[in-house]
Amino acid sequence: MSSADEPGAGGRHGHYVSDAPFDPYSVEKLTPEQEKYYLASQWQLMWWKLKRHKVAMFSGVILLLLYGSVLFSEFLAPYDLHRQNTNFIYTPPQSVHLVHEGEFIGPFVYPWNYRLNMENLKREYTPDTSKVQPVRFFCLGDSYEFWGLVPGSFHFVCPPEDGTLFLLGTDRLGRDMLSRIIYGARISLTVGLIGIVISFTLGLIIGGIAGYYGGLADTIIQRVIEVVRSFPEIPLWMALSAILPVTWSPILIYFGISAILGLIDWTGLARAVRSKLLALREEDFCVAAQLIGASPTRIIARHLMPGFMSHLIASATLTIPTMILGETALSFLGLGLRPPITSWGVLLNEAQNINVVALYPWLMLPVVPVIVLILAFNFFGDGLRDAADPYK
């Protein structure tokens, strides 16, 4: 590391003075990207951070697709929800083929040959590989009322003319499992949403009071939260849903169950709100707002809430799966939703005994969307939580 103007060992450096004019106001010029970054809003930053989280983005897309499908259940399902095909009871899933005897035909199915085995009274279905029945797309099939309002019969995919299309098999009444799963999504996906609205509101108000006022209110609320949390959730849900009157209509039961799910789950959110508020209310901007004379409601809503809203949304995303699983478990036990309302839990209720696992394992298929949904919510919530504090 020696160069021409460097003194030798023991030598001294010469005195160096820069000739450039001194400007105390000069700042380092920001590149346009940097400028964009520094001026971006909090939500903008969160979005950028979330976008980098590949798994969370992927899960988000899956959630969007699932919730999107809820809007068009009638159109997506090949059969009507209650259509019973009495000739096809407990048929196994039908597979879709593309090539028949070396010739490409496009998606088609082979019809079932049904035979009752007289020895063990088992229904045996074997595909009849001599007949080719092409699947129809964008076609007219079972009639329905779109969201119970607009009559129609246009489907994305229909069974072949005088054939069947049971991609996931049928149940004990010969109802198509795939269609029932698609319709069930409508209930299963929204139960959590209604529940989270209730628990979000409760958590925000109760946690807000505890965190902002502190003191006695805080102590009491903390105790209440502790009591509620020491209840095991599912037994409590069981007890509460056993209360719902038998005379209620299925729709009322549906709202009742969502309300119950929400009423127990607010404690986690309330705690999050409280701890965030406790930290934030000591900040200078909060004192300033108090001195100007802003009301507590305004301070909480206008000045404090934006600071922790992102965290709240993230933790809310992580509580939805518990509620969905809760509904599934309750309906599975027969304490939750009841037919004719169809949720994934109600569908799984049919798969309650071990014979089903042995003989008709496809009745357990509604568990696949449940797992996918729960995973997606968890990963997306994880990503949101990481992104919630973009300044870190």
């Binding site: 037994p235 069981m238 056993a242 599975f332 036990l333 309650q352 696992v357």
Partner: protein, 332 residues
């Protein structure tokens, strides 16, 4: 230390009282009482109803008195070990319940141990090898366990156990041991059956535990003393085991508070599917037939199990971690 224990006990009493009040309200909420559904049932079967006898029963169990008085009566009875009367079984609740409470406690305890054994090495590995393939795979497996509804896993495992190991379906022991005194073969039979519920209930808690342990250890691994230790030239394994690992042990004890309710809650459903001789199935039956004292006792028992579990974990933590005693307050 003694003040802390006493303090902690005194906090527990109002909590338990509040819980009992909530439970009482819940079991009182359904319209009508057991006798009404009982009368309806008798009438539907075409049997004559002795209304006077029913009225006498009502009076005997204090159904004619004000609600508040009934509540005090119920709590007072529980303090004396009298949990009321099960109308469905026509026996005192304590006799109906019998072994069930112990078995529930046993299943919960074994599940906690199982969760620890599984999640501890995984959590440790995930934290030390953060963002490695092993970390991703194990975390993903944990999430799958979290997302699979317990009851379905129970069914499938039951089927597998039946087909491959020939274990009898359901229950916690082979049929010939039921109501028999505890003998060695009976214990073996229980051990043969208990692994299914323990694994099934454990899967849901394990994922959460791994996540929390991993996050906890990661925080610890970033601290100065770890860097110092590494700079001094401590071997990585020794460094890990000597400091951050010991701190995470504390966390394990402390985490019982959040683990226990989820285990008991998950256990209730799994027990019903597996028809274990524990509290879950009977609670469901009692709720359905409005057998209020029985349902109330079960709810009370499950909630107290949580409260006592948290108490034990708090006390154990106070023994292990001197910082907590100095603060004098609660740890949660």
């Amino acid at each position: 230390m003694l003040t802390y224990i006493v303090h902690r006990f005194f906090i527990m009493i109002p909590t338990l009282l509040a819980i009992s009040l909530i439970i009482f309200v819940i079991i009182q909420l359904p319209p009508g009482d057991y006798f009404e559904s009982y009368i309806a049932e008798l009438q539907s079967q075409g049997e004559s109803v002795d209304l006077e006898k029913i009225e006498a029963l009502r009076r005997q169990y204090g159904f004619d008195r004000p609600v508040m008085e009934q509540y005090v009566y119920w709590v007072w009875g529980m303090l004396h070990g009298d949990f009321g009367y099960s109308f469905e079984f026509r026996l005192p609740v304590t006799e109906v319940v019998g072994d069930r409470l112990y078995l529930t406690a046993l299943v919960s305890l074994m599940t906690i141990v199982f969760t620890w054994i599984i999640s501890f090495p995984i959590g440790l590995y995930s934290a030390v090898r953060q963002y490695s393939w092993g970390d991703y795979t194990l975390t993903f497996l944990g999430f799958i366990g979290l997302a699979t509804p317990n009851f379905l896993l129970a069914l499938v495992l039951l089927y597998i156990a039946n087909v491959f190991f020939g274990t009898s379906v359901g229950g916690l022991m082979d049929a010939q041991y039921i109501d028999q005194p505890w003998t060695w073969p009976k214990i073996v039979s229980v051990l043969e059956h208990i692994w299914i519920p323990v694994i099934v209930i454990g899967t849901s808690g394990t994922a959460g535990m791994i996540r929390r342990l991993r996050a906890n250890l990661l925080d610890e691994l970033e601290k100065q003393y770890v860097v110092t230790g590494r700079a001094k030239g401590l071997p990585p394994l020794k460094l890990l085991l000597k400091y951050p690992f010991r701190l995470s042990l504390n966390f394990f004890i402390a985490d019982i508070g959040s683990l226990l309710p989820s285990i008991i809650s998950g256990a209730a459903v799994v027990e019903i599917i597996l028809s274990l001789p524990t509290t879950g199935p009977m609670l469901l039956g009692a709720l359905r037939s409005q057998d209020m004292y029985l349902a109330g006792s079960f709810l009370m028992f499950l909630a107290s199990l949580t409260v006592v579990g948290v108490l034990v974990s708090d006390l154990a933590l106070a023994v292990l971690d001197p910082r907590i005693r100095l603060q004098g307050g609660t740890t949660r």
